[in-house]
Every structure is written in C-alpha cells, then in structure tokens.
Symmetry: C3
Subunit: 140 residues, 3 copies
C-alpha cells in the first residue's frame, strides 16, 4: 500500500477566489506512484472549500454571486460568531458547509478517473492570508 | 489490497430525476470481494449529484422542488455561465455543489454498513443525455 | 492494511444539536494503529450530518438559525414527505443533504492531519431518539 501527502499554500489577492488545482492533484498521484486508489483533497481551514466542477470563468463568478445573494450573505451584523469573536467571517463558514471542504478523486489505471469536464477547485471564502490544502493519495 | 471499478450510464427521460443505485453499489463491493473497506460512488459530470438519503417518493419530489424554489432556480437568464457559453444549465452546476457529487460507503463484515433507512441515489439535474457514475470499491 | 470500526450513539435532549466528536475520531485512529491513511466519519441516519468546522458556540447557533431561516425551514405543511408519511421531518432530510452526512479525515505520521481550527461535529437535525455514527479508520 502506497501513500503520498502534499500541501498547497494559498494567499489570495481577493477575499473570495476560485482556483483550479487539478494539476497539483495529479502530481500527488504520480508522486505516490499509484495505479489504483483514491486521492483525498481537503481544505485545512473552516472558511474554504474544495469541490469538483467546471473550468469556466462565467460559472466561477456565478458561484461567488450565488453564495453571496442566496446561500450565505456576508452581512457581518447578523451572525453571533461575528459579534462574539470580533471576526466578520461567519458567512465564509456557512459557505464552506454548503459547498463542502473535501473531495475524493478515484484513480484507475494510473489516471485521475474523471468525466469529460471535471476539474478540482479550491474555493477561498476568506482569503488575503495564508491558507492550506492537503492532498493525500492512497492506493497500490 | 483489492479494488473493483464499475461504471453506470444513465439517459433519463426527464431533465431532473432521482434514481436509487444502492444495488449497484453492493454489486461492486461483491465483485471486489472485500470484507472491510470503502466504496466511492461519484458522478462523472458536473451537473449531477450522488447522495445518501431515503427511498421515499414524496421526499424525492420535495428535493426537486426545494432545489428549484430555494437553492438554485433554473432561471436561464441570470447566470453568466449561460450567457457566456450558450448553455442553460448553470443552476444544475449549483445544485451539484450544494448536494455534492460523491459519497463514500463504509464496508464492514462483507456488507455496506448503512443505518436502517440509508440508500444511495443518483441525482440527475440536467439529463436527457448520456451521463456516467463511477463506483470504486477498495479494501481487503 | 489495518482497519478499525467504532459506532457512537446519540440521544439528544434537544431536537437540533451540534456535538464535537473529534476525540472519538482520534480514538478510532489510535485503535486501528495507523500512521498513514484516512478515517471515514459518517452519520447512519438521513436526518443528521457530520461536518468539519469550528468549535465556537456562537457559530453553532448561527448554523442552526441559518438552516431554519435560509436553507430548509421546518414548515411541516409544505413537504410531500410529511403529508405522505405522517412524519414532520422533511426539513431535516434537506439539511442533511446541504451540510452532508460524512467526512474523511486524513491521517499523517500517526495524527489526524487537520488545520489549526478544524474539528469534527455531529449535526443532529431530528433528535430526541437514538441515532448512530460510524467511524472507520483504514490505512497502514
């Protein structure tokens, strides 16, 4: 059984940002040398997401708008987390819960076994500071 | 360490549809011959979901209504993804992000280790065309 | 390859409740004796969640409020699941779909490989009765 673990660090210019990390996931698979197995990709922070979707910049903007307008508006005043801790990022936590913070990518015959349009993304919901993602490949 | 990989293909009559695939997950476990481990079940498209919930047709309709009315209305005109690409399915992408595109089913003593009402479903959010799901069992 | 499986049982006083189960996840890892691998933590019921977020009581109340006000109001009358089955918990199913019912925790060098604030929680969305969570560690 083989394992390999990589860590990515991001410090985004904007507070919310979506970044394609698929090539890093494949690098971790190759470093593990696995032909069959799974790669876990997981945000190490509670105000960020990892998800699989489409490499299309219009959609990325749709996702940011949708999180703000429909899922969890930033509204710093309405959350107990903000008033209690002096932070303003409660909405980023709720966005992380909605979109999820991790994915598992299947590996078959030495490749990430994705459908035609699938790519892996890091979703930064409270950036402009150093944040990490763990990638762990496991298989044979 | 044992692996087995299966692929399912769906071409739904309706554009949105929910399909119970639990029996296919168990077939993959059995084909792998594992007593302990995990089975990954993952949509290979970015406008579909895989989730665990209840085999109850009223709830399935509730889920479709809830996605349309509360989570991500179809509204083709409001999304950049639609205006930029000529597609109309941005809402299906957002529904996939909300419900998720994959689950991991634990395997214990040669069985899918589910609670009393848990079943695995494929959620098609933009069907009427050929789409796939990967099932990968991994264990011993 | 090593495995260990634990089950937790909850019978919450309140119908909705959020409980930190991180210490139980670590116990399962230690019992498996794995240095590298993954731990699956999964609700065995379809009206509950398992998620990773912050150990902060203001945020827990924000999550409960957000699920009720924005994601899936309890409103027993509006769901087919409730009128068809005599139950009143359709909203709990939708909350489970939104937040998710499982997480995978990476294990590196004999430790749960978490970022600085990450903790694992059980989210009970329809409690006051006996419900279970499975924890399964797998690795080497």
């Amino acid at each position: 059984m083989k394992f390999h673990t990589s860590y990515l660090t991001f410090n985004t210019k904007r507070r919310q940002e979506i970044i394609d990390i698929t090539d890093e996931v494949e690098k971790c698979r190759a470093a593990a040398g696995i032909q069959e197995g799974m790669v876990l990709v997981s945000a190490m922070h509670i105000s960020a997401s990892v998800f699989v979707n489409d490499h299309e910049s219009g959609l990325w903007q749709d996702i940011l708008d949708w999180l703000e307008k429909r899922i969890a508006p930033w509204s710093p005043d309405v959350y107990r987390h903000n008033s209690g801790t002096g932070e303003d990022n409660a909405a980023a936590h709720l966005r992380s819960l909605t979109v999820g913070h991790e994915v598992i990518v299947p590996v078959t015959k030495g490749k990430l076994d994705f459908g035609p349009w699938q790519r892996v993304f890091y979703g930064e919901w409270d950036g402009q500071r150093s944040k990490r993602v763990i990638i762990k490949a496991m298989g044979a």
